[in-house]
Symmetry: C2
Subunit: 316 residues, 2 copies
């Protein structure tokens, strides 16, 4: 969530006409809005407050991972539509306990954290070590796509599907998840098929969109990013920890469906194929809050928040 | 710096013809490069290795701040061309010891750290508390501008000047610094002229470009970002620390010119108006490293690294 710099609380939404530049010396020409915001635009707080139960989807326990670190839990929402083979294999790895007791061995400033078998000693039982890449896929015919009407240099079209940011190329019939902050992917070596899910990473900084279509993304951290972002940065090349003692233990990774229902974390992700989500996008494209002097008139893919909330008590 | 996900070291630059997708099952259509990279494109490592002394500018001690935290030093390169009044006032505040003993009172995940006088008790001697905004300025006629030939939704034109990412509107004759990761600005309340430099912030996450032209940026962190990004996140609204004991002490902020020469940190920033910098931009637009299977063919403003290095011994 993004907000103001002052100590003040967020004011209620104001009309777009309030967005002119106030007292301003002549040397500072008033900054004209690049596009007039339609008057029905709401601010994000209002959109969230007015959202309906149907605007949210509960996490699917079969496609949710709980990654437990000593300091807390990271929750990952997986996207099997974009990486069906990798999601299935990662679940197989998780279910044979592959990750339990392994570690985060890399934290690179403004880039990624990466975890797996730093010493290469962990055996694999039934899962696969390597898989053919799912860098971009021919999506299922019924895959929802909410186009974001924003220019983007990395993809012919960008938008959202099922709560994930994505790019697509209609001519080639391909779709892929986009490397926005908090997205989770499958580390690999130089060969495209050298990954499979034994080594995973999450984006902790500015979106490295140049990785789109170069590596398999399979999910998004929906809670607990701060347990990744606050880790000490590795001092070796690429942010690898130089000493094994610096590595951050991964206590366990579990599929939420394998945890007793009473112990699951009830989260909901805003659906991205609803009028409410479109209103949320508008609220970020045309900022209505009184603090804003200049209407950006644009919102870039990775600057659109995809809200996550605790499920309301009634839904539990 | 961005790099690979594997443990391997970075391979030397390969010809663009090597960028095809290797072994790949039919279900994964080969990802054709969006634009063929001219064969003379180098990778970033080569560009840096071949750079000349004249491609770098030493930090100007009069426009460099040393911000000392208990865990280490953050170094800020200031950009007086974009915020002359704020830079002068921040230096005046620093020189009267305004920040010494104050604290970081806010760390918001994927957004900003902010520091200043959390209790509102620090007196100001000669400096100003508030200034008219410098959100966008009529730049000096001789301001260098290296245009980045990349589509951008937030600005008519984007590029670099003096080692800083920027936007500009040639029609309006305005220029402004861009809110990329590591940029530093002047916090304000709702009124545009409510800032002045007593409260400062740095971007620690994905570029919040919607803030461009809404708040005065005046510099960039060129070393020590990890001391900001690893701070515990505040649990109050907007990431403010809820307890005074959680605040992070600022031991002191000094202008580098006020520190004995022998104690200064000799850093150099790559000049952004040279053929070498253009080659660096090309190296990020068309990735030459063997690891890349798909040539992004694009680089977004905030994904262009502006390299910083320790000054070579000969230059000291």
């Amino acid at each position: 969530m993004q907000s103001f710099f002052s100590h003040g609380v967020m004011p209620v939404a104001l009309l777009a006409t309030a967005l002119s530049l106030g007292a301003c010396k002549p040397a500072e020409p008033p900054a004209a809005p690049v596009a007039a915001a339609p008057p029905q635009i709401k601010d994000m707080g209002t959109v969230l407050a007015e959202s309906l139960s149907a605007d949210w989807r509960p996490l699917d326990p079969e496609n949710t991972l709980y990654m437990d670190l000593e300091k807390g839990r990271v929750i990952i929402d997986m996207a099997p539509a974009f990486a069906p083979n990798h999601v299935a294999n990662i679940k197989a790895l998780v279910r044979e306990g592959y990750f339990d007791g392994l570690s985060i061995m890399r934290t690179q400033e403004n880039y990624v954290v990466q975890w797996g078998d730093a010493d290469g000693r962990r055996a694999i039982k039934a899962a696969a070590r390597n898989l053919p890449p799912e860098f971009a896929v021919t999506p299922p015919a019924d895959l929802p796509f909410t186009k974001l009407d924003s220019v983007d240099g990395y993809a012919a079209e960008v938008g959202f599907s099922g709560g994930f940011p994505m790019g697509r190329d209609p001519k080639a019939g391909l779709a892929w998840l986009a490397h926005c902050y908090s997205m989770v992917g499958v580390g690999r070596d130089t060969a495209p098929d050298s990954g499979g899910g034994t080594e995973l990473y999450a984006v902790i900084g500015h979106a490295p969109r140049q990785l789109d279509r170069n590596v398999t993304l399979f999910g998004r951290v929906v809670r607990g990013m701060e347990f990744f972002t606050t880790l000490p940065r590795g001092t070796g090349p690429l942010g690898f920890y130089e000493q094994p003692s610096e590595r951050v233990p991964v206590k366990s990774i579990k599929v939420a469906a394998d945890v007793p229902e009473s112990e699951r974390v009830r989260l909901e992700v805003m659906r991205t194929d609803t009028p409410t989500f479109s209103a949320l996008v508008d609220s970020r494209r045309h900022r209505q809050e009184e603090w804003f002097q200049y209407d950006p008139g644009h919102v870039e893919l990775c600057n659109v928040p995809i809200p996550v909330r605790d499920a309301p008590a009634a839904a539990q």
